[in-house]
């Protein structure tokens, strides 16, 4: 039986803020990461915990001013079933479908995936590629943090100890395309070896703009591959461009060997799946 720290279950955000301000407190939403950490005693056991499961302000999926806004407590199952997500952000729906299996998708939340900040977090490259903005809040007020600035170092984020993730805003620029690819050890219940999101806007003759290449499981945090983006920006997805982008990506990444895969494999496969996405986009 695992440790059982004390836990509060506030109904409203302001109550949650009060508790967070009172001292070190570990929030728990769907519990799919936190409960594993506590059960397996992976790291120190928190002294106090905060149950977010009753806070309705953290729920909901809506379209606001041209952005798709998802409450932090939105589960993967809700993402998969959401007509708005399917219409405006199908890549996120695809990513949600690759996480765990039904049991995890029913409980795990988008906010939890972000706060846990695993380098292998499956939705995180999509946040980076989609220029998502994370709204965080606490007693000191609310602030928006671009996803790009959120993941600071291994499992360390821009979230202060007294803050909660409230929602995630995905801007939906016209003409933007977003693709997702996950490579895992098996077809369900697998932590990724490589996860990739590729975004671009295409207005015809000028080539691709606002290209984003974001990856998970290849560095200490989810990352963007800026040099590769530079190769693709202003270009068309031709075979030559794809070759150059793949080579650049392979040169740019510095993955590691770990229990799930090898550095060589991750580097090679990242290049190949990018090449594949570009081939599909170019239609050659």
């Amino acid at each position: 039986m695992p440790a059982e720290p004390s836990i509060d279950t506030p109904r409203h955000l302001f109550e949650a803020y009060e508790r967070l301000a009172a001292g070190p407190t570990r929030p728990i939403a769907g519990g799919t990461d936190v409960m594993v950490a506590i059960t397996g005693e992976l790291g120190p056991i928190p002294k106090r915990m905060l149950d977010l499961s009753r806070i309705e302000e953290l729920r909901g999926i809506s379209l606001e001013d041209g952005s798709l806004v998802l409450g932090a407590r939105t589960t993967y199952t809700e993402i998969r079933r959401s007509a708005l997500c399917r219409e405006h952000l199908p890549a996120l729906v695809e990513a949600a479908a690759t996480i765990g299996a039904a049991q995890i998708q029913n409980r795990g939340t988008l906010g939890g995936n972000i706060a846990n900040a695993s380098p292998a977090g499956d939705t995180l490259p999509i946040l980076l590629a989609a220029d998502a903005v994370i709204l965080v809040g606490g007693q000191r007020g609310e602030r928006e943090v671009p996803a790009d600035d959120f993941f600071i170092s291994y499992r360390k984020t821009a979230l202060a100890p007294d803050e909660l993730i409230l929602h995630v805003r995905f801007p939906l620029p016209r003409g933007r395309e977003l693709r997702f690819r996950k490579v895992g050890t098996r077809r369900a219940q697998a932590i990724s070896k490589v996860v990739m999101a590729l975004a671009w806007e295409d207005f015809g003759s000028t080539g691709w703009t606002n290209v984003r290449v974001a990856l998970g499981s290849v560095a200490a945090t989810p990352i963007r591959a800026h040099a590769t983006e530079a190769v693709l920006d202003g270009a068309h997805p031709t075979p030559e461009v794809a070759d150059r982008a793949a080579e650049t990506l392979a040169g740019e990444l510095q993955p590691i060997d770990d229990v799930r895969s090898t550095a060589d494999y991750r580097r090679m496969v990242s290049a190949r799946i990018l090449h594949r996405l570009l081939r599909d986009a170019g239609g050659w």
């Binding site: 039986m1 490579v183 219940q189 793949a246 799946i273 090449h275």
Partner: protein, 775 residues
């Protein structure tokens, strides 16, 4: 759906059926008894060990080493902790021998002070407390003072040999001299975890007689019984072992439960109350036995017509830190190393050595999956060199009736290698699909796609492949094993008119509780639910041997049938002319109980010489073929095994649904072994010792498995059955790896064939030397 009546005992009123010998099983066979304990399992009523409640019971845990090799200087409980409310047990508390009884007396129950820690996660001390929170708090407060010693991790470098064998037939030099082609290859397989979904669990209850009653998840009650008597110095009556509902074993609960039962017992005796020793998954993977890793080297001579003329095979197995069952695992591995093929000149050498990793032990297949993977890889590579179909090469070499094996065993009957091969080829359309995949591969090559640039995708994203493998599996124990065991199984008509089967053979999912009553009911001519199956409790049943080696239905099932026949004859003799089913209740009223204890008698004509390692290594062999179809993602080398046709000759199908269940489950374990299951080690510690990191196939990863059962009966057993449990485990892995080769053009000579290895091989071909004889 057939109508039937559920009875309170969970049995089902239905006529037991047995299919005629040689008859194929046409799909779903209705009319066989349903799983006896099925309703209890399906409603949550079935009690597994951790489900049992013992008022006042404490919880026990094991304090384990954190080094691969060290001298234990001291065990130091933190002086700032009040230890008076808990119990600590060390080697000093062991009343008898500090030995977990097994083949060799090398494994201690707990490492003694001054003794040597030989592997990471080795048990050193035990701690029991009234609640788990206390245990969680205190377990880190017992310090082990040690002096590090230099560990050995490479089995080929180890100088400590647990066992070695050298089997010779014919003249190897002559054989190679007559070969047109000599092919060499080295193949490796890693650790595999049994991964029963129920973790190890054991509860020890102090008996009033100073003894111990064990309730546990285990395969072999009498193994535990023997271990208790030895280490706790108990009489046979003082040691009592009761198997509770067991959530899978696969060999993983063959020998290790003895250790856990001893630990729970030591704490229970000291705390004077029941102690629960329930492993969590992390502990179970970290500390308990795995399938032996192996390195297998082949040198094979063949004629240009594809006939094997010389096989020189060397097997090295990594035994881990203690002997456990290693000599027997190695023996089976060596005896199966040539594969199911005739070859006049053979040398099979094997040795198993000690390393400073957790001990390896029994796992479905027991040495054969390791060496038969290598044998099949070797054969496929020979076929490739000869430009011959892998099916044709097998057809030309597979054992036939009257052939002789390397131990000099003449295959006098029950030889079905050709049959399973042809069935698998036919059902899978092997040659037709192979032509198609070859065409697809040549189109890819024509487009300059394979081998691909390391950093590019190519215009086909996936490639299909098909692969074939053939295997044999010695039925029951190796050599004279059964003769030494002298198992006893019983059938009883009780004084109150009930019919009972009594054996020590356990149900762990495979169907013992269903098929034993079925077989007895069939003999006695009574409905199957009239026959009870006595609990696996050493106070109730005699030792009918362990539930291992696919021997339950074959060997013990045979005893049970013979016992039933004798009971029927005795009763009917007392009631001239009245059939048993009408007479037995009157008989019990008039004459009281009648119990037949049937002891194993050597199968006629089966002889093995342990000293020379010659003769009939097994009473008979089961034969299996598998054809696997895979789809490989050429970008990532991810392998999806789509279909497996698994054809298994089991001698006699007793219960088609349960039998198919064994084939399907064994096949998937082999697919996992082939593709994703891998223990990774660092300094002798398993790195992926959790379910998030040691992965087995999910339903989405599992292929569609079509089981085809073949019956080539073994005349020594009254029913003809040869066992089924292990057979499918031997054959699917090499079939999958052959299919990966068919799809990608690369041979992966080390299991598992991970995408990492496949991708590396695709860009560095020709890893295995092939040598042609100068002509």
């Amino acid at each position: 759906m057939p109508t039937r009546t559920l009875t309170p005992g969970g049995g089902v009123t239905e006529r037991a059926l047995v299919i005629d010998p040689g008859q194929r099983i046409p799909g779903r066979a209705a009319g066989f008894p349903l799983r006896r304990e099925g309703p209890a399992k399906l409603t949550g009523v079935a009690k597994y060990t951790d489900d049992l409640v013992f008022p006042g019971a404490w919880y026990g845990i094991t304090i384990r080493s954190t080094e691969a090799r060290a001298k234990l200087i001291a065990i130091e409980p933190d002086p700032d902790v009040d230890w008076s409310k808990v119990v600590i047990a060390t080697a000093a508390d062991i009343p008898g021998d500090n030995i977990v009884a097994s083949i060799k007396d090398d494994q201690p129950v707990l490492v003694p002070i001054g003794g040597e820690i030989r592997h990471h996660a080795e048990p050193v001390a035990l701690l029991a407390a009234p609640d788990r929170e206390t245990l969680r708090r205190l377990k880190g407060r017992i310090k082990l003072v040690t002096e590090p010693l230099r560990p050995v991790f490479d089995p080929e470098q180890s100088e400590h040999v647990f066992a070695h064998y050298d089997v010779k037939a014919g003249d190897l030099a002559l054989g190679f001299a007559g070969a047109d082609l000599i092919v060499e290859g080295t193949y490796r397989v890693g650790h595999q975890e049994q991964l029963y979904i129920e973790n190890n669990a054991m509860i020890a209850v102090p008996g009033e007689d100073g003894g111990i009653i064990i309730h546990g998840s285990l395969q072999c009650p009498y193994y535990v019984h023997t271990a208790l008597k030895r280490a706790l110095r108990l009489t046979p009556v003082q040691a009592r072992v009761i198997q509770e509902e067991t959530g899978g074993g696969f060999g993983g609960k063959e020998e290790y439960p003895s250790m856990i039962a001893l630990h729970a017992s030591l704490l229970a005796l000291k705390a004077k109350r029941p102690v629960r020793m329930i492993y969590d998954r992390h502990e179970d993977i970290s500390a308990t036995t795995k399938r032996h890793p192996a390195i297998v080297r082949h040198r094979t001579g063949v004629t240009k017509d594809g006939l094997l003329v010389a096989q020189d095979i060397e097997v090295v197995m990594d035994g881990g830190a203690y002997c456990t069952l290693t000599p027997v695992v190695l023996s089976r591995g060596v005896l199966h190393a040539g594969g199911p093929y005739r070859c006049p000149n053979v040398r099979l050498r094997g040795r198993a050595t000690r390393t400073n990793t957790p001990p390896n032990g029994a796992f479905r297949g027991f040495g054969a999956p390791q060496t038969e993977f290598a044998a099949e890889m070797q054969l496929n590579r020979i076929a490739e060199r000869l430009g011959m179909s892998p099916a044709e090469l097998r057809r030309r070499n597979v054992y036939r009736l009257s052939d002789t094996t390397p131990t000099g065993q003449v295959l006098k009957e029950s030889v079905a290698g050709e049959e399973v091969l042809e069935q698998a080829l036919g059902a899978s359309h092997f040659e037709r699909i192979r032509e198609r995949t070859a065409r697809e591969a040549s189109e890819r090559r024509g487009a300059g796609i394979v081998p691909p640039d390391p950093l590019r995708s190519h215009d086909r994203r996936t490639a299909n492949g098909i692969g074939l493998a053939l295997a044999w599996h010695g039925a029951g124990f190796t050599g004279s094993g059964e003769v030494y065991l002298a198992s006893v199984a019983s059938v009883e008509l009780t004084a109150d008119g009930r019919l009972r089967v009594l054996t020590a053979n356990t149900e762990m999912g495979q169907g013992t509780k269903t098929v034993f009553p079925q077989m007895v009911a069939n003999e006695l001519g009574v409905p199957v639910d009239w026959v009870e199956y006595a609990p696996q409790d050493t106070a109730e049943v005699l030792d009918s041997g362990p539930t291992v080696a696919s021997r339950t239905v074959m060997v013990v099932g045979g005893l049970v049938i013979l016992a039933a026949r004798k009971l029927k004859a005795e009763v009917e003799a007392r009631h001239a002319g009245v059939p048993f089913h009408e007479a037995f209740r009157d008989d019990a009223r008039a004459n009281g109980a009648t119990r037949i204890d049937q002891q194993f008698e050597p199968y006629p004509g089966v002889e093995f010489d342990d000293a020379t390692y010659t003769g009939d290594a097994y009473p008979a062999f089961g034969w299996a073929a598998a054809v696997a179809s895979v789809e490989v993602d050429l970008d990532t080398a991810e392998v999806f095994v789509r279909d497996v046709i698994a054809v298994d000759d089991v001698g006699k199908v007793i219960h088609p649904i349960l039998c198919e269940g064994q084939v399907e489950g064994g096949t998937l374990q082999a697919v996992g072994y082939a593709t994703i299951e891998e223990m990774k080690l660092h300094d002798g510690k398993y790195l992926n010792d959790r379910l998030a990191t040691y992965l087995i196939p999910t339903a989405l990863d599992a292929p569609h498995i079509r089981a085809i059962l073949v019956e080539a009966p073994f005349s020594g057993a009254p029913h003809g059955a040869k066992g089924v449990g292990e057979l499918p485990m031997d054959v699917a892995a090499p079939a999958v790896v052959a299919a990966i080769h068919d799809a990608t053009g690369v041979w992966i000579h080390e299991l598992p064939a991970t995408p990492e290895r496949i991708l590396a091989a695709m860009h560095e071909p020709g890893l295995i030397g092939v040598m042609e004889r100068p002509s």
